[in-house]
């Protein structure tokens, strides 16, 4: 059985339903990220696990026990807030020692454990400072140390890096992953930053409108999203409506609205879903002068807009089945208004529901 089991949980504020019959399973020792646009219910899920809010229905089973009605202060979970929520009236040492003092750990042991954890987060010389005297990155590390020092059964992180600058964010996320693995602590991480969560998670759950659209290893989600929402989220900008014509071993034949046929033969077609759309990234489309390429997986169109991205030019190409976004190396430049054909490589199209 998984460590965390959320079973058919519903959370609502009045008539505003945030989570409906929500299920989530997290294995012991894993770092699982909840990723999604704001308002998708990811923070709600985290707060529900911590016990800051109650569900209308459903169960939260933790380590085989029903935690649904256990109050926050008896859960022994560590929670890191987006705003860090350090105690302004206590110095770094007392902030970190707060949880230990509540557990009636003896003074000597408190000193030892606080020093140990401050060493891990590299803040050993800051014990006497107050939160107001620390930089954002240091506060973040104090918040992390404070949550970790109580040896929580579960670590919950609510966008812990969103208030830091880009460079520090990258450094800290590696740090968090390192500490998480060293201590082997099961972690649920909420973020809206795709790169951040893909880089450190064992599994990522993409959330939308209170449901998990897909939950898998980051590389699977990145390469083989199963729904249009997830595909858009991970950078598939082009979608074609497709109808299934025939199905062979590891290869599908489909047809677009303008009767162009498409072959898709990547090996990761999800058999369980009824594909209605093909998705492809701008980088994977091939653009060429009209006439060079014709037949299956190819459509023709006219360039509407050209923008310079550095290594590539990006083109918006208007075709009779919609507008496609194509990146092409800056070595060969196409002009606005030019007629071109676009080729969809058979192994780069992903079928989504």
């Amino acid at each position: 059985m998984s460590l965390i089991n959320l079973e058919k949980v519903t959370v609502a504020y009045g008539n505003n339903v945030i989570l409906k019959d929500f299920d989530l399973r997290v294995e012991k020792g894993d770092l699982v990220s909840l990723l999604g646009p704001s308002g998708c219910g990811k923070t709600t899920t985290l707060r529900l696990i911590m016990g800051f809010l109650n569900s209308k229905s459903g169960k939260f089973i933790f380590d085989g026990k029903d935690y649904s009605n256990i109050p926050v202060h008896k859960r022994n979970f560590g929670y890191v807030f987006q705003s860090y929520a350090l105690f302004p009236h206590l110095n770094v040492f007392d902030n970190v020692a707060f949880g230990l003092n509540l557990r009636k750990v003896d003074k000597k042991e408190v000193g030892k454990r606080v020093s140990e954890i401050l060493e891990i987060v590299d803040l050993l010389d800051y014990e006497k400072r107050f939160p107001g005297e620390l930089s954002g990155g240091q506060r973040q590390r104090v918040a992390l140390a404070r949550a970790l020092v109580i040896k929580p059964d579960l670590l919950l992180l609510d966008e812990p890096l969103s208030n830091l600058d880009a460079k520090l964010r990258v450094k800290m996320r590696v740090e968090i992953r390192k500490i998480q693995q060293e201590l082997g602590i099961t972690t649920v991480y909420v973020t809206h930053d795709q790169e951040e969560c893909f880089s450190i998670s064992d599994k990522v759950a993409i959330m939308n409108n209170g449901i998990i659209e897909q939950m898998e290893e980051p590389s699977k989600i990145y390469n083989y999203p199963s729904s249009e929402f997830v595909a858009r989220f991970v950078g598939f900008e082009n979608f074609i409506d497709l109808k299934l014509v025939s199905k062979k071993e590891a290869s599908y034949e489909l047809m677009a609205n303008n009767k162009t046929s498409f072959i898709v033969d990547n090996l990761h077609i999800n058999d369980e879903i009824q594909p209605t759309k093909g998705a492809i990234r701008p980088d994977d489309l091939r653009i060429s002068n009209i006439g060079l390429n014709e037949g299956t997986n190819t459509i023709s169109g006219q360039i509407l807009v050209r923008t310079f991205l550095g290594r590539d030019y990006q083109y918006e190409v208007k075709t009779d089945i919609g507008i496609f976004i194509v990146n092409h190396e800056a070595l060969k430049v196409f002009e606005v208004g030019e007629n071109v054909s676009i080729y969809f490589p058979t192994d780069k199209i992903i079928l989504v529901k």
């Binding site: 202060h73 949880g99 509540l102």
Partner: protein, 261 residues
């Protein structure tokens, strides 16, 4: 300098003059040598200040006023802090109504409040004078407590409360270890403001004082009715000094901007 800003300067001067001149007059007159309160005084003497301490009723009522204000303020804090906390932390039905109820004592004329308290506490409930005074004072200062504490809670980051609970503290423990220390300055300000208001109160005390139990402001009123010597001016100067010192403490601990919010 143009005319407009000169006009403004004169205006500001006049405002300050009319605000402060009576106080200056009292201050100077309290050092007069004559037997009645005159301005400008003839001669200089400290005997009126000394005289305050000779009048036993002043000593007695000063102690009662002190006791009443300190105990009343503490009771009002005990009632007002949780009320202010609930009003700013939670959204509930009738929140506006409760807000109104708690602030109404400052809106109702003191004399009306004083009279109704007399009717219900002393005449109807037959409480003794001291208890009635205490209840009356608590009622008039609670609005100040709620107002000041609410304003310090308005910048309070409630996520630290959740942080405390996530670390293992229950709600009550969280209130005392995390919430209270962080609104400490507000509590001090509320205490001082409520104390001054209680100590200086006339309209409520006027109705509730009775034989043997009186407050200093009431005793001063009585004194002025029969004597017109500078003792009362000297006493006023001492009370002003006390208020000024308390305000100075607030200014030093919080800054007066605290009340401008």
């Amino acid at each position: 300098m143009n005319n407009k800003s000169r006009g403004l300067k004169i205006f500001a001067f006049l405002v300050y003059f009319f605000l402060l001149a009576p106080l200056v007059i009292i201050f100077i007159a309290s050092f007069g040598a004559e037997k009645s309160l005159v301005f400008p005084p003839n001669g200089f003497s400290l005997k009126w200040i000394a005289n305050i301490f000779k009048i036993e009723m002043f000593r007695k009522t000063f102690l009662i006023s002190m006791q009443l204000s300190v105990i009343g303020t503490i009771i009002a804090l005990i009632l007002g802090i949780p009320a202010a906390y609930a009003l700013s932390r939670y959204n509930f039905k009738g929140k506006g109504f409760f807000n109104g109820i708690f602030l109404s004592p400052v809106l109702i004329p003191g004399i009306v409040l004083g009279f109704s308290l007399l009717k219900y506490l002393v005449i109807y409930s037959k409480l003794d004078i001291y208890t009635s005074l205490l209840i009356g004072h608590v009622i008039i200062i609670i609005p100040y407590i709620i107002r000041v504490i609410s304003s310090s809670l308005s910048n309070f980051d409630y996520s630290i409360e959740e942080a405390s609970m996530s670390l293992g503290a229950n709600k009550i423990k969280t209130f005392f270890t995390v919430v209270l220390p962080n609104i400490r300055s507000g509590v001090i300000a509320a205490f001082i403001l409520a104390f001054i208001n209680s100590f200086n109160n006339v309209p409520i005390s006027l109705f509730l004082t009775g034989p043997g139990v009186s407050t200093l402001p009431i005793q001063m009123l009585i004194h002025v009715e029969y004597n017109f010597d500078p003792t009362i001016a000297a006493l006023s100067v001492l009370l002003m000094a006390m208020t000024a010192i308390l305000m100075f403490i607030i200014e030093r601990t919080l800054g007066l901007s605290y009340f401008a919010k």
